[in-house]
């Protein structure tokens, strides 16, 4: 900008051209957008496209990756979603039945077969994400309400900072801290000895419970903050009005306050669900063999198992879940992300 300005003042012939370029309404846009657009295109979109392409490839007999045009096809997705010698329709039915069987308490058998281990793993990851989101909501909503509404005005900022502060502290170190607490013979596991079904000092690590604690611990600020932002904006005279008109405290909350805080709840749920479902480090450090998630599966396909096309197909399945969640968010939520 400096040189352009100077050239104009010196009045050289060049400046007329520069001035014209500068006054053009697209110039500012191009200058401002180009660096980021190029970077995001080259180092974000193109890599995703490469991965998408790989997900149609095959693994050769010696573990090599075959992605020449003649090898391309849906075989990885078929392997991922459809059990051997089942039709696509049967695969869908097995999947639905498997979910219903898992949700219903009694041991019923609905379908003749099971979905593939990969689908089971994907559904399990979604389950982890949903439970983590639900726990974060149940635990986090009252906190957001307290900070935004009940706490004395002068402490609100401090309370908020105290919620955000751990988020800035190292992610891995905090997971390690959870690991310390849940290990056998730790302060916590020894203190829990008074519980009737719990033997003092017994390790809680390497379990689904540990993974859930880790997920909630890391992501709960992401639930509290958007909900707080929503509650802060609510005009609480509406609640008074409802109660003047005869609503009980519960009714006033359920019919007036809670619906008005929904944008925050939806945004917070998305912000917890997406990273929880795609988690990799937390199940790796806190989970056992039964609590690995799709993130670990993907990493494993690109590492020890060495099946890159299958890993790429897994990645795009995970991306599909994310996009679905975001679509639901855009349908029902209206608050800004973050």
């Amino acid at each position: 900008m400096a040189s352009e300005h100077n050239t104009r003042e010196r009045g050289e012939p060049r400046s007329a051209l520069l001035g014209r370029i500068r006054r053009n309404r697209w110039t500012g846009l191009l200058v401002n957008v180009t660096p980021s657009a190029v970077w995001l295109f080259l180092f974000f979109l193109v890599p995703l496209a490469v991965m998408f392409y790989y997900s149609f490839g095959q693994r050769g007999a010696f573990g090599e990756v075959l992605v020449a045009p003649e090898y391309l096809g849906l075989q990885q997705y078929r392997l991922f979603f459809v059990p051997d010698d089942a039709s696509v329709f049967e695969a869908i039915w097995f999947t639905v039945a498997w979910v219903v069987e898992a949700v219903l308490p009694f041991g019923i058998e609905l379908a003749a077969g099971e979905p593939t281990p990969y689908v089971q793993l994907t559904l399990k990851s979604i389950g982890f994400g949903l439970v983590a989101t639900l726990v974060a909501f149940v635990v986090g909503y009252p906190v957001a309400y307290y900070v935004g509404r009940v706490a004395p005005e002068e402490y609100q900022d401090l309370l908020l900072v105290l919620i955000i502060l751990p988020f800035w502290a190292s992610f891995l170190v905090r997971i390690y801290a959870i690991q310390i607490l849940l290990s056998g013979n730790s302060v916590l596991t020894n203190a829990l000895g008074f519980l009737p079904w719990f033997q003092a000092g017994q390790s809680l690590m390497n379990s689904r419970f540990a993974v859930l604690v880790g997920l909630v611990y890391i992501w709960i600020p992401f639930m509290i903050l958007p909900v707080y932002a929503s509650i802060e904006e609510i005009d609480f005279t509406l609640r008074e009005a409802a109660m003047d008109l005869g609503a009980t405290r519960f009714q006033a909350f359920r019919r007036v306050v809670f619906p008005l805080s929904m944008p925050g709840v939806v945004a917070g749920s998305l912000l917890v669900f997406i990273p929880s479902t795609g988690a990799y480090v937390i199940p790796d450090l806190l989970g056992g063999t039964d609590s690995q998630m799709i993130g670990n599966f993907i990493a494993n396909q690109f590492g020890a198992a060495g099946n890159w096309p299958l890993g790429a197909a897994g990645s795009f399945t995970l991306m599909g879940i994310m996009l679905l969640a975001i679509a639901i968010y855009q349908r029902y939520g209206s608050a800004d992300l973050a």
Binding site: A2, G28, L29, N32, V33, P35, S36, L40, F44, P47, V50, M51, V139, P142, V143, Y146, V150, L159, L160, V161, I164, L165, P166, W168, S170, F171, L172, V173, R174, Y176, A177, Q179, I180, L181, S183, N185, S186, V187, I220, L225, R249, F250, F253, I274, P275, G278, A279, V281, L285, G295, I298, A299, G311, S315, L318, M319, M322, I326, L337, A338
Partner: protein, 281 residues
């Protein structure tokens, strides 16, 4: 209270809960703050624990700190490796912050001040690096670098960090721009300031808190990133990668000391920044 007697026990309990909501909310909130801070406090306390293995308190000692800071290896933690990993992390984070703050701020200007065809789609692409799981981002970059034949190292890690940090900076600065009073710029121009002077003396000072917050966020994201870095850094180390490999080997006093140092330093830096800027995010 006669109306309450013909309601279900659950409804009666509920209304009693709601009548005492203030105290209950305060108690629940206190528990959540405990949940957030107890692990960190226990971690720091155990780094002063006078025991080589146990997770229970055996007495206070600064032995592990002294040994590590004197350059001695403490229970599998090699201070030289930790130091070089720390230097790598800082190098990558500094490059990332400079590039992503400049690019991200420009991008925020473009998104705030221009309408162009495809803007909604473009904005979606800008949000995507924040939303998609880091494992997908890390592995797709790994495939990409593999195909174009780039050797993995600190530079590829920085490239990846910039790719997600541009988005974080742009969104933080954009929030600031959207609450920005544009008439101030017009006033400056009416009073005879040229574009550069307006930008230098009006726009930039008003945007500064947003840019600072964006820079800090970018630094923290880059410094703390494990998943993306893990896949695209080749055989180099950053602090999170070094720490991850230590944690996988188990809990030892050496790991506790490194963890306590990391957490105290990062939380200290952020606390100072928030003191100046108010709550970030």
């Amino acid at each position: 209270m006669s109306t309450e007697s013909n309601r279900s026990p659950f409804a009666r309990l509920r209304s009693r809960v709601f009548a005492r909501s203030g105290a209950l909310l305060a108690a629940e909130t206190a528990l959540v703050y405990l949940f957030l801070y107890v692990p960190i406090v226990v971690l720091i306390a155990l780094s002063f624990n006078d025991s080589r293995y146990a997770l229970v308190w055996q007495g206070f000692t600064t032995e592990w700190y002294e040994a590590l800071l004197a350059g001695e290896t403490v229970a599998r933690v090699n201070p030289d490796a930790a130091w070089s990993a720390l230097v790598h992390s800082v190098e990558i984070a500094l490059v990332t912050v400079v590039v992503s703050v400049v690019f991200g701020t420009m991008l925020a200007f473009a998104l705030d001040r221009y309408e162009f065809p495809g803007k909604a789609l473009f904005t979606g692409v800008v949000y995507m690096p924040i939303i998609i799981p880091s494992i997908v981002m890390g592995i797709s970059l790994l495939l990409f670098f593999n195909i174009v034949g780039m050797t993995l190292g600190l530079h590829t890690a920085a490239i990846g960090h910039i790719a997600f940090d541009i988005s974080f900076v742009a969104i933080v600065v954009l929030a600031r721009l959207q609450s920005f009073d544009r008439t101030l710029e017009e006033a400056a121009k009416d009073l005879g300031a040229n574009e550069l002077e307006t930008f230098r003396h009006v726009t930039l000072p008003l945007l500064k808190p947003g840019i600072m917050a964006g820079a800090l966020l970018a630094f923290a994201m880059s410094f703390d990133d494990f998943v993306v870095t893990f896949f695209i850094i080749g055989n180099q180390n950053t602090l999170p990668i070094f720490f991850f490999s230590m944690v996988r080997q188990g809990i030892t006093p050496g790991v506790n000391v490194v963890a306590a140092l990391i957490i105290v330093v990062t939380m200290g830096i952020v606390a100072v920044a928030q003191w100046f800027e108010g709550p970030i995010w």
